[in-house]
Symmetry: C2
Subunit: 368 residues, 2 copies
DNA sequence: CCGAGGGGTGCAACCGCTTACATGTGCCTG
DNA sequence: CAGGCACATGTAAGCGGTTGCACCCCTCGG
């Protein structure tokens, strides 16, 4: 005995307010009726691969198609205790880096039939509230990069929902993913030395446990390995103005470096431009390298040698890992580390130039 | 008589499967009990500003805080017929343009207490399915730019959910928002003429009703107004390689232009670089201008003169408009058009250079 | 002193699904 | 031929909120 008779037992709300909600959308009852089965059978036929006779399934599918039926997300989530949505927490997006992370995440999630709810945890918004709300709307949450969310909050949420972190200081016991840093940094630094540079400085604040910190370590290691004394460290924020400041300082001090490893491309581009504006030849007098392979890196002269990270893949992996956790998978003890790749252009001053144009950013590959 | 006794009447599911769902999360029942009131009162105290005595409200808020209560999204959505989420359909993101759109949208939504569910409607995924699913998970949907979603599908969804479009061919009767194009294009073209250019070509496929189409119209209008004959039109896709092809063709044909208006910066940057690689002086021999003010535009030499659109604001407006529709607002007959702004750098070859550095992209402004 | 008026609460019926458990049916076995 | 079993389906109890309506109690006015 169907709880509602023929017509849906709507509590006739006649107010002038609101877009008529879920207007006319077919419900599972409609499908059941049309297919001549119970709602339970419809649910099973459409979703769970449980035992449903082929004939029946067919009938249900047909009815569903004819009615253009799409199950209501909220109802499904409530009854099934699964929202089929993944949360993604990012810092305030800018630059291609986060965009790529997002793209990878979304595509992987969508392949798994999951939707993604994003939350920009900038310092200006209240991350506490936003993230807590997010938690009650998704099955699991990925925290990306240095989003302004404290570890304690993540831990709190982790108690009730699966959680992964990506490109972010890892939390003990939680799944973590990031791109390889120290080795690429070492290679890059060594590359500079091979090109004859001897006074190699570092630009960027190497906070412990951060990407830039790891890069700094690699840089140091390469220098130590080659028994070359480390150049000056400019521990500045990874923003453009900071890059300009560094160059000003450098110029004033008589330019005692012949190469600069920058924590990211934003810094590298700013540094390079400021140097050039100051009449310094790049890479002749000072080589400059960075990280991220931003779009602009291919357009500046000389082309910026930089490190491309498989960002999109990182995002995709995060989504897949999260989905696995939601499905009851066990956390992976070891963090997943993806290989970075140096993109040789000309700003490093090495022998084999190669504009780098023939090397599209790796993350582009799966875009087509 | 509470439907569940003391302990929550869980249907003891003991399987090994899945992360224990909503483990221990406080429910409205718990809050009600702790505050010594009914769940109806809790609901009203927390949400609806309906009549609740101050003392009672206080008690409820306290209890809620103590239990760290956050209402379950699914239940709230189901009962309230409001998901409190907005859907955002974007084409496959790349470049800062979509990222900015997204950021604006998300920030505005979050200010309104709404979450945002994104869907990347790239050609590779099945937009039909994805978007239909999205529709059953949100209160309204914003379609941004040329996402691979057909107008018919949008119309179908618009019948059951509020819909807005942004930076996209507008649909009759639906709310639409975009940045001003023809006038900025005309101004830009006029600017080129002022700089003494006389043979001004256009690069980009001017499809009717598209951004680039509108820009082309403005370009044409300016030329006509100045009684200057229009230069060649290179109707190519807005991608890098196309820009290179154009230049190759141009070079082969003896370079019969002294300025090129490009449909977007990607094209402009590619064109400019190819020209320079071909030994052409920019802007001396050929001036180049574009659209979007991408990050790289500030770093290339000469700095790219381009048009900055208030993209983040566009996104924010879309979110707010959508929210208004969801709340029962009437669609706005006239599309909302935001002003674009020309960013003068050096690639246009005009008198007053100004590197443009002192003019941060307008969309950055509200980021801080 | 009694009835009307009204603000504050509680009751309970949903919202549209999922799913444990009951039921029914047909076939195989003892 | 009865009992057992396996499979396909139906029944109905929730999932955790929201909200129309009834009710209670207190304040006033007549």
């Amino acid at each position: 005995m169907n709880p509602r008779g023929e017509g849906r037992g709507s509590r006739g709300r006649g107010g002038a307010a609101g877009f008529e909600p879920t207007q006319g959308a077919a419900t599972i009852y409609a499908v059941a009726q049309r297919a001549g089965v119970s709602t339970a059978t419809v649910s099973r036929a459409l979703g769970g691969s449980s035992k449903v006779a082929d004939r029946t399934r067919e009938a249900v599918l047909t009815a569903a198609r004819e009615l253009n039926y799409v199950p209501d997300g909220a109802a499904r989530a409530l009854a099934g205790r699964r929202t089929h949505a993944l949360g993604l927490v990012l810092p305030h997006i800018d630059g291609p880096y986060y965009a790529a992370l997002l793209v990878g995440f979304e595509m992987a999630a969508s392949e798994l039939g999951l939707s993604v709810v994003i939350s920009l945890a900038g310092p200006e918004t209240d991350p506490q509230r936003a993230v807590r709300t997010l938690a009650s709307n998704v099955d699991g949450i990925a925290f990306m990069a240095r989003s302004a969310v404290e570890d304690a909050l993540i831990e709190e949420l982790a108690a009730r929902r699966p959680v992964v972190t990506a490109a972010r200081g890892r939390l003990p016991g939680r799944d973590a993913l990031y791109a390889e840093n120290p080795r690429a940094a070492a290679d890059l630094t060594a590359h500079l030395l091979e090109a004859g540079k001897r006074r190699v400085g570092f630009v960027g604040r190497p906070e412990p446990d951060s990407d830039i910190g790891a890069r700094y370590q690699g840089y140091l290691a390469a220098l130590a390995g080659a028994e070359v004394e480390a150049g000056p460290l400019f521990a500045v924020d990874p923003v453009e103005e900071a890059g300009e400041d560094v160059v000003r300082e450098l110029l004033a001090a008589g330019l005692d470096v012949d190469a600069l490893v920058c924590g990211n491309d934003q810094l590298a581009l700013a540094v390079m431009r400021a140097l050039q504006d100051g009449g310094v030849d790049v890479p002749g007098q000072v080589a400059v390298v960075g990280w991220d392979d931003v779009h602009a890196a291919r357009f500046v002269r000389p082309g910026l040698t930089t490190v491309a990270q498989p960002v999109e893949e990182l995002g995709a992996l995060a989504a897949r890992r999260l989905a696995a956790l939601v499905d009851g998978g066990a956390p992976v003890e070891e963090p997943v580390v993806l290989d970075s790749q140096i993109v040789h252009r000309s700003s490093c001053g090495c022998a084999h130039p190669g504009t780098g144009e023939e090397l599209p950013s790796p993350e582009r590959e799966e875009s087509r």
